[in-house]
């Protein structure tokens, strides 16, 4: 019993160390990878443009629900005028970075894990290594660099459409004055809030993309599964671990910054 707990713990610690080395190697390859920016542009398209619809849709509905729930809660205390404060601070401080990251994990992260898993299975990664090309530099570094830009941009977009959604349900459907709503948004959000929001977005971006890349890249190491099953396991693990990591990192960052 003690032996198996010890072995499990050692295995996890070894895995964490391996993950840290993988991420470090991928970031370190920025200076050693040739023709990097063309691949960064492609990653920007994959993570940015292709994920736009889901960010717009989820952001709008999040704002709509926040406006609706917020209105009825504030209405009990006669404070409907503070609807803009509630929606904007909820979005900027917590919901936008977390939900945007979860959406990006679901779309771009899972696709990345599956793509790398298939490339591992079909020996494309081994082929890169036999050519003397850094597989981390070629496959992972552009995705990490793109995440540094995409996650904050998508989070900002999420906030914008969320605020608009909040105004839609609060002002258009429930009768809060639009001027009051937008003025309270402007008053409530301070530069520290925006900084916290962007810091979370960048952290979640680096964390989730490196987790998804790591899982896909090492799909061949998954115990008891090979081929297509290994790819599906790697993709599932990538999404689950990334989602947990986003929520855990959110708690840690919030507790330090609050």
């Amino acid at each position: 019993m003690v032996g198996s707990v010890g072995s499990f713990t050692l295995d996890k610690v070894r895995g964490l160390g391996d993950f840290a080395l993988f991420t470090g190697r991928s970031l370190g390859a920025v200076f050693a990878t040739r023709r990097l920016w063309a691949r960064v542009a492609r990653a920007l398209y994959e993570q940015g443009f292709r994920c736009l619809p889901v960010i717009l849709i989820v952001g709008t509905f999040t704002g709509l629900v926040l406006g609706l729930q917020g209105y009825y809660v504030l209405n009990r205390f006669g404070s409907e005028a503070l609807l803009g404060v509630l929606v904007s601070l909820s979005l900027v401080r917590e919901m936008a970075p977390v939900l945007a990251a979860l959406m990006l994990v679901g779309q771009a992260g899972s696709a990345l894990a599956a793509e790398l898993g298939i490339q591992r299975n079909s020996e494309q990664i081994a082929a890169l290594e036999t050519m003397g090309i850094s597989s981390c530099g070629y496959l992972v570094t552009p995705r990490l660099l793109a995440a540094l830009f995409v996650f904050p941009a998508q989070t900002a977009l999420f906030v914008a459409v969320g605020l608009w959604g909040g105004s839609l349900s609060g002002s258009l459907l429930l009768g809060v004055d639009p001027g009051v709503y937008w003025a309270s948004v402007q008053r409530a959000v301070e530069s520290e809030d925006v900084r916290e929001c962007l810091l979370k977005a960048v952290t979640f971006g680096l964390l989730t993309i490196s987790i998804c890349a790591y899982q896909g890249f090492h799909a061949h190491r998954i115990r008891g599964a090979t081929g297509a099953r290994a790819v599906s396991s790697a993709t599932t693990k990538a999404v689950v671990i990334s989602s947990i990591a986003v929520l855990a990192a959110d708690y840690v960052i919030t507790s330090f910054l609050i």
Binding site: E129, T130, G132
Partner: protein, 276 residues
């Protein structure tokens, strides 16, 4: 138990001037030895074939040579210099002078044929775009794939994919190309065509070829030197003629396996006739 080495372990005409030398290479997985101290020397400019039954460790040997697997022990020398794969400079210098052709081709399915061939030049050399384009198209045309430069690998036939993989392997003008089971899963006509293609471009481009395969007939016709890997050790090393006349029991059983099958089947048919 591994049979003793035959008395003539090296082809007499090719001793010396070896491009690649392997000494005592060992590799195991989960405590099970796969390579138990492989030693061989590959003459420069030759077509060298490592034969062996499935599971003999041929692909593992090749993967150790190409740094895909880390050997547990042993020494690999290239041009007389011992390779240290832990030293990135030594490893990259060796890998850039070699190419590896995978059993499943390992083509990048999201890149066109042209981009597949241009990739090693783009990533490992400082050549300009014009030179890369020229060399990639030259390699494609050498393999009669010039008209398919814009096609994705999935749009090409199996034979064309094999040629595309070879074009990618030779575009960097390597001194040595490793071939992992290049004819696996192919019918006899295609097997002949693949060996003929390797021999043709080996003569044309001048690289040293190390092939692992279990296709004995094609290997004996096309190769300059043959080694037989059995239970993780080299039990024969010599020319195809020496292989054909060797009295070594493992060589004999491997070489005569079609005859043995024929004899078994004849025996079975004879039995059927007798019972009828």
């Amino acid at each position: 138990m591994t049979p003793p080495l035959p008395s003539r372990s090296k082809p007499s005409s090719q001793t010396g001037n070896f491009l690649l030398e392997v000494n005592g290479l060992q590799k195991g997985f989960g405590g099970r030895p796969v390579l138990g101290g492989v030693s061989l020397s590959v003459p420069r400019g030759s077509l060298f074939t490592v034969l062996g039954p499935s599971g003999a460790g041929k692909s593992v040997l090749l993967k150790c040579l190409a740094n895909i697997e880390k050997p547990d022990a042993g020494r690999i020398s290239f041009e007389g210099r011992t390779l240290d794969f832990r030293d990135p400079a030594s490893r990259d210098s060796f890998l850039r002078r070699c190419s590896f052709l995978f059993q499943g081709n390992a083509l990048f399915d999201s890149l066109t044929a042209f981009r597949n061939v241009a990739l090693p030049l783009e990533q490992t050399t400082s050549l300009g775009r014009g030179e890369i384009r020229f060399r990639a198209m030259e390699a494609l045309e050498q393999l009669e794939l010039g008209d398919y430069a814009g096609h994705y690998p999935g749009m090409l036939s199996g034979g064309m994919q094999k040629r595309l993989a070879l074009a990618r392997a030779i575009v960097t003008r390597p001194e040595m190309v490793f071939f992992d089971e290049p004819t696996a899963g192919l019918d006899p006509l295609r097997r002949n065509a693949v060996f003929a293609m390797i021999a043709k471009y080996q003569a044309l481009v001048g690289f040293t070829a190390l092939i692992v395969t279990h296709d004995i007939v094609e290997a004996l016709v096309a190769s300059d030197t043959v080694a037989l890997l059995h239970q993780g050790e080299i039990c024969f090393y010599g020319t195809p003629d020496e292989f054909a006349s060797s009295a070594h029991p493992v060589v004999q059983s491997f070489r005569d396996s079609p005859a043995a099958l024929r004899s078994t089947l004849d025996g079975l048919r004879g039995g059927e006739v007798a019972t009828e």
